[in-house]
């Protein structure tokens, strides 16, 4: 018994020590570093015109990319679960790609496709549409990197709820839309919400892909993560920490939302 108590304490110490050094210490340090020189400097950095613009742009990314991927995600999950088709495996595989591909490669791919010599670049620029180094390119990058989350979170829930209630509804004369809004959507809502939270977190923090397609023009194509990098390389570390703290607070809200949703679902 005493040897099992010893091993229990050993594992506990190892696991928690690792977490403390790797996760908790950085989290605590962001707060500490930001307010090292008082509360004014980080607030000035965020409320500077560039800082505010970066915040606004980040929110624009979320406002466009998240709804698009949510609608796509629900539709795609319904299709994958409720309509057997031999192409489903391929669709499923393509949806997982953004999990495994480097954000830098994603950035490069959009850069090449919409660049001056790309397949779409020349045609679009003749039509006066600017994708690269402007908001549309950054939105495309955000959509690409956050594509899988809603699908991945919705599919298992759809599989679990089955089709009993939908069939009952259609027997009682409900059409497909009514049965979707009244039966299916309420049943999968927490799974979808979880996917939405993950999507939002990913879009808020995306760096590698957006950095390449944005061109990082201050006050124009700079999201908050890009702003952090720019402030850091301009030796304005307080500004970098201020923006980081803001992003970290958003991350903590994400964690909180994730846990609340876990409880809802359980």
């Amino acid at each position: 018994m005493s040897s099992s108590t010893a091993s229990r304490w050993g594992l506990r110490t190892l696991g928690l020590g690792y977490l403390a050094l790797l996760l908790l210490a950085p989290l605590v340090l962001i707060f500490f570093k930001t307010f090292e020189d008082g509360i004014g400097a980080p607030i000035d950095a965020i409320t500077s015109p560039e800082g505010l613009h970066a915040l606004k742009l980040t929110l624009i990314m979320v406002a466009i990319a998240v709804p698009i991927n949510t609608i796509f995600g629900i539709g795609c999950a319904l299709l994958l679960v409720r309509h057997r088709w031999k192409g489903n495996t391929a669709i499923d595989a393509v949806i997982n790609l953004p999990f495994a591909i480097s954000p830098v490669v994603i950035g490069l791919s959009l850069f090449l496709l919409y660049g001056a010599d790309g397949w779409f670049g020349p045609t679009l620029s003749e039509a006066g549409i600017k994708i690269l180094f402007s908001i549309p390119g950054m939105v495309l990058a955000s959509i690409f990197v956050s594509l899988p989350f809603v699908v991945r979170e919705t599919v298992p829930v759809l599989q679990e709820i089955g089709t009993d209630q939908e069939q009952a509804a259609s027997t009682l004369g409900a059409n497909a839309w009514q049965s979707f809004w009244r039966i299916t959507l309420p049943a999968i809502r927490w799974g979808v919400a979880y996917g939405v939270v993950l999507t939002t977190a990913r879009v808020l923090g995306e760096f590698g892909a957006v950095t390449i397609v944005s061109g990082q023009i201050s006050g124009q194509t700079e999201t908050l993560p890009l702003f952090v990098e720019k402030q850091f390389f301009n030796f304005n570390t307080t500004g970098a920490y201020g923006a980081s703290l803001l992003l970290a607070l958003l991350a903590l809200m994400t964690l909180l939302a994730m846990n609340l949703l876990k409880r809802k679902e359980a």
Binding site: R82, A251, L252
Partner: protein, 303 residues
Amino acid sequence: MEAHAANPAASARAGIRLPGLGAGLGRGTVVLYLSLIVLLPLAAVVNQSLEGGFSAFWSAVTSPQALASLKLTVICSLIVVVINAIFGTIIAWILVRDEFPGKAAINAVIDLPFALPTIVASLTLLALYGHDSPFGVDIAFTRTAIVVALLFVTLPFVVRAVQPLLLEMDREMEAAAASLGAGGMTIFRRIIFPNLLPGLAAGVALAFARALGEYGSVLLFAGGLPDTQVSSVFIRSQIESGNDLGASAVSVVLLVASLILLAGITLIQRWGSRHERDGDGGGLTVMPISGDVITKNKSDDDE
């Protein structure tokens, strides 16, 4: 409930359709969307890498700088997945089998690397383990820094892949083994570990894929010095110096690695799901991203 989930053919026959759309139209839309958003851009990278023929591609990949970056990336990623496989399993273990105050909070914090923007992770790791480290550990701009940054971002994968399997595990097997005289190590090696293996393998594969492509968290902490240049940093530098061929050639190598790892994860899951009670998921993958724990363990969540 399970009976219906396991019998999707019946539900398809019952004629449940996507609201307002025929399945064919829906499929067309999904395929078109995925082609435009994901496949065409990736095809542009492959196309660019082969612009000058295969020999140009090969010499770009085998140029000393590109090769050094690939080697460094692979070695660091391997070290990272081995460490996180061990610590991830330990952490999953104490989260499932141990009881201590603050466990729920610790469980929530596991997902932090997932929620925290990578550039913020890089900045704080630099403050923590850089030249003015409160611990007096200065590893900034070294290869160790690459490893630490990758350990941070890949931590949740193994924990979240192993945790549901531990929760589901039937403890009677362990009790039986113990009653037959097996010691703690033997029980772990012969009973627990084989049961965790599918999840562990999937988590490790996903962590490895993530580590191979990681950019933001490495950037400020490890930098892009000649001997700390991982492949993603190398690709970025090639784009900036206008060498599209060099950038896309190395990208294609990473892309192929991603595809192999994803295929591996899918195979592992098919293999793993054969052991499950209602293993038929319609052949769809379940990724060990943080959400998986809840959806798979509604009934026997111990909280």
